[in-house]
Every structure is written in C-alpha cells, then in structure tokens.
Subunit: 112 residues, 4 copies
C-alpha cells in the first residue's frame, strides 16, 4: 500500500472515524471538497486562474483544497478496495482506444 | 514525475487538448466526474453501497468513475504544478494538529 | 418575471457584478454551493438526516445552503434566458413518458 | 404549494419512489445533475458559453440539465419542508446587509 493510503487510513482509525467513512458519506465529502476547490476559481478570469499559484495566499488555498480532495478520494478508494492508479490507467487505455490521436486532435467534442 | 501524471500529460498532448485543459475547465470536469461517481451510489441503501464492489457490473462502473476522477485530479494538479501526495500529506498534518486523537475520537463534529 | 429572479438580478446589478456572472462562473458557483449543502449531511446517519430540520442550528444551516443553491440556479437561468419551472416541467413530462407508473413502481433502476 | 413542487411530489408517489428520496440521496442526486450541467460547459470558451443557447442542440441539453437540477432541488426542499423562494430571499437579505452596494461595487472578493 502506498504511503498516503496508509496515512489516511491510520488517521481515521486513530480517531475512531471508520463509522462515518461509508462509501456514500465519503463520496459526499469528496463532492463537498471539490465544491470548495471550484469556489477558489469561480470568480477568476481565465488569465487569473492560469497564474493563481503565483499568488501566495490564493495559491496556498488552492493547494489546501487539492489536498482535501486527494485525501477523500484516497480514503474512498481504500474503503472500496480500489487502486487509484490502476483504475485511472485502465480508464486512460479505454479512452485512448475510443479516441485515437489522429481523429481526436484539437477537437472539443472529444476533449476528455 | 510519477507514471500516471506522465501518461495523462502525454494523452492530452498527443491529442492537442492542452488548449482545453485550463485550471477552470479542469476543475469543472473534475466536478462533473465526481457527479457521475455520486450517481452510482445515490439510490443505494447504505448496505448496498457497502457491498457495491461485489456486483460485477456496478463495481466496474464505480471503478471507472473513480478512474475518471483520478485522471482529472491528476491533470489539474499537473497544470497547476501541485504534487498531489505532498499536498494531501501536508493537509493531513495540519488537520491532525487541530484534531488530536484524544478529543476527536468517535465524534461526528470533527470527522474530517 | 418572478420576484426572486428580479431580486437576484437587481442584487448583482447594484454591485456591478454582472462581469463575474458568466454562465461558466455561475455553474461553478452553483456546484460550490451544492458542495456546501452536501457537507451539512455527509456525516449524518440516514435517521439524523431525516430529522435535521428539527435541530435549530443544523436546520438553519441547511436552509441557508438551500437558499444559496437557489440563488445561483436562479441567476444562471436568468443569464441563459431559461425559465426554471418550464424547464423542469418539460423534463418531468419526458421522464414520465420513459418511466410510466406501472413498470417503474418501487424500482431503484428508474428512481429518477 | 406551487405547481412544480406538487408535480414532482406526485411523480415520485405514483412510482413509489419516496423510499429512495431521503435527504442524503436527494442531495447526492442534486450534485450528480449539477455535474452533468457543468459537463455541458467545461470545454467551451467563455465566448461559446455565453452564446450556448443559440445552438439548438447544445441549448436543448443545457435546458434539460437545468430542468433536472431544478427537479431535484424542488424535491429535496419539499422533503425537508423548506420553501425555496423564502430561503433564497432570506439569504439575499443577509448577504445584502454584509455587502452594501457602495463597498461591494465591482469587487471580485465579494462577488457572491
């Protein structure tokens, strides 16, 4: 198991929080944190958003929210018994087959 | 750089999709995929949700959505120049300081 | 135009905020507020969630988040020129045709 | 009760779906539909997003997703016993007090 999964699991167990960490609850918490991440960007112009990490305060808030999203995604995957990297790489391979590089170049319709 | 970040970056570059992968767009895409993940759980009872991975079809859909969420989180972090594990571990340390194990045990108020 | 749409529009114009209220920004803000709404429920058991409005503090927070979600949905619909009730009733009619009452009764698969 | 609330309630009762329409489930469904709404905008440029309703197909999809979001928000409010308009107007009044028009004009920090 990778270090982050182990640390997040230990963190929950030390506080006796497994009872709250059901798949539905964790999925809701993940959505809540993604909402907080979006809130950091919602009023920024595309230019401001592209350089947000250059601003010490705004950049720190974005990094913190990315951290929260990662924590809950990691915890949810652990509770479900899913390997995050393996799930992502498998999905990438499937999408790569459906959108070969030649046809997909520069097209918004398949920009996934 | 870890393998997943490199694979997702190459995937986008091969299809000339960097133009679409701005921070705001990627944050929106992340929220969209988390929405699809929640949709897999929304009508399940807590018991059905706890054993969803035992169902071949439902389990495969959950794994695919977890994969999509991970892909977009990885891509967003790459575009922002944020290390996912480091951001998560830093946040965990901060929360651990605010919620020491003794006071936090079993309490819903601090179940983060 | 209904009262809420007019009030939300006036609220934005009085503060010169139309510049920020683009469709993408408002959709992100809507997602952010839905995230805050989910956060009020994420650690509650189904029983606690069912009676949350009986708790003065928790109920007030839920009502406030419902208010925020409604404000942004109203503003987004106004900016796009969409009538919320008409859009909802039209969609209900379409779904009613796809899921006639006899077949759909009590089935999770079509519980939309 | 307004027409939409009554229609959505009848729709659920006719199909015996009240069992699935718990506050947590409906909040998750709402987040799922908002995710689908964001997906309609995520790859559009600000200019394309501003004129999306001029495109018959894209505009119809946006209207359908706005419809779905409204249906679930209406159902959730009904189950919780919250009046959507009253909750939104109350929240608007509170925010108006915190951000009086003079100080807030044109400022991103208070663009809520």
């Amino acid at each position: 198991m990778d270090e982050l999964t182990a640390r997040v699991r230990a963190f929950a167990e030390e506080r006796d929080w497994q009872q709250f960490h059901t798949p539905k609850n964790l999925a809701m918490a993940l959505a809540g944190e993604v909402g907080e991440l979006l809130a950091e960007f919602q009023w920024l112009t595309p230019e401001q958003a592209a350089t947000v990490m250059d601003d010490p305060e705004a950049g720190a808030r974005v990094k913190a929210e990315i951290g929260d999203v990662t924590i809950y995604l990691t915890r949810l995957a652990d509770v479900l018994g899913i390997d995050l990297s393996e799930a992502a790489l498998t999905k990438l391979d499937e999408v790569a087959t459906r959108y070969p590089t030649v046809e997909a170049r520069g097209s918004a319709k398949s920009a996934r």
